[in-house]
């Protein structure tokens, strides 16, 4: 029983890592479910039960986290950044960004450069939260 949980966790972690690795490309549930060796409907349900949010939301937060970094640490245009981090349209990017961060990409950019930390910590800790404890995420 426990063994099964561990194996499920590890397979789901593999799919989650794939999102963190290839966020810049189009990623679909079929591909991710295959990495996790489960059906698509099981994948979404099990991912949520294991990590506390849907795979879609996790990937969105990864993409927005990278966009936050690129906005403040590079000169790339907002359109370029939108495609760099895997969004298929500027409209979806702007809407998702605003929803998650609470302000527009250009307004966020004006805050200036961020402090550099090892990239794995930036990934884990500068991702806008899904879990409701971070007021900054909503109020900007």
């Amino acid at each position: 029983m426990t063994r099964a949980v561990e194996e499920t966790n590890r397979r789901l972690l593999r799919a989650r890592d794939a999102m963190d690795l290839t966020y810049g490309r189009a990623l679909d549930i079929t591909t991710l479910a295959r990495i996790a060796c489960v059906s698509e409907s099981h994948f979404i349900r099990e991912f949520r039960a294991t990590f506390g949010e849907t795979p879609h939301r996790y990937l969105q937060r990864r993409r927005v986290e990278r966009a936050l970094y690129l906005l403040r640490c590079t000169d790339r245009s907002i359109t370029d950044i939108c495609f760099d981090v895997g969004f298929a349209s500027l409209g979806t990017f702007s809407k998702t960004f605003h929803l998650i961060v609470g302000e527009s990409p250009s307004k966020y950019r004006r805050r200036g450069e961020v402090i550099t930390v090892p990239t794995c910590f930036a990934m884990a800790w500068t991702r806008p939260s899904s879990f409701g404890e971070d007021d900054r995420a909503m109020t900007g």
Binding site: E6, R10, L13, R16, D20, P118, T119, C120
Partner: protein
């Protein structure tokens, strides 16, 4: 007051499999592998660095009760026991290619230019997170 960090610890699910990965794949060497009866005391180190050991500990009785060990194993396979290891190398791209050629390594990030150098990420078979960095020279 303190002079060095000699041993740090991560959890693994299986110590033989851990040797295959940390010694066979990553190229560390076994420092100590001793059956103490109550536990197998297993440490590895980077070749030539015997004073910086990593204890590869299997969670379970008598150190912890079976239910707690289940929780630790569950967190470990979710990648959430905090078992981060940060190694350095003189050539990150070559280290990445060498590991890729060996096969069976799960990368979490390809070699990437960072403000602090070039690094890449991977997971051990259990869920621990590893990064390998070629550090940029300190600014003079």
């Amino acid at each position: 007051m303190l002079s060095s960090l000699r041993i740090s610890q991560i959890y693994v699910l299986d110590q033989d499999q851990a040797i295959d990965f940390y010694v066979g794949t990553l190229g560390l060497e076994i420092n100590t592998d001793q059956d103490l009866g109550f536990m197998r005391f297993l440490t590895v180190n980077v070749p030539g660095e015997p004073d910086h050991q990593i204890l590869l500990e299997k969670p379970g009785p008598p150190a912890m009760d079976p239910a707690t060990a289940d929780e630790v194993r569950s967190l470990l396979t979710k990648g959430r026991t905090g078992g981060h290891l940060f190694f350095t190398t003189t050539d990150a791209r070559k280290a990445y290619e060498d590991l890729r050629a060996k096969g069976g390594v799960e990368f979490t990030q390809e070699p990437t230019e960072q403000p602090y150098g070039i690094d890449f990420g991977l997971r051990d078979p259990f869920g621990n997170h590893i990064r390998v960095a070629q550090m940029a020279p300190a600014p003079s």
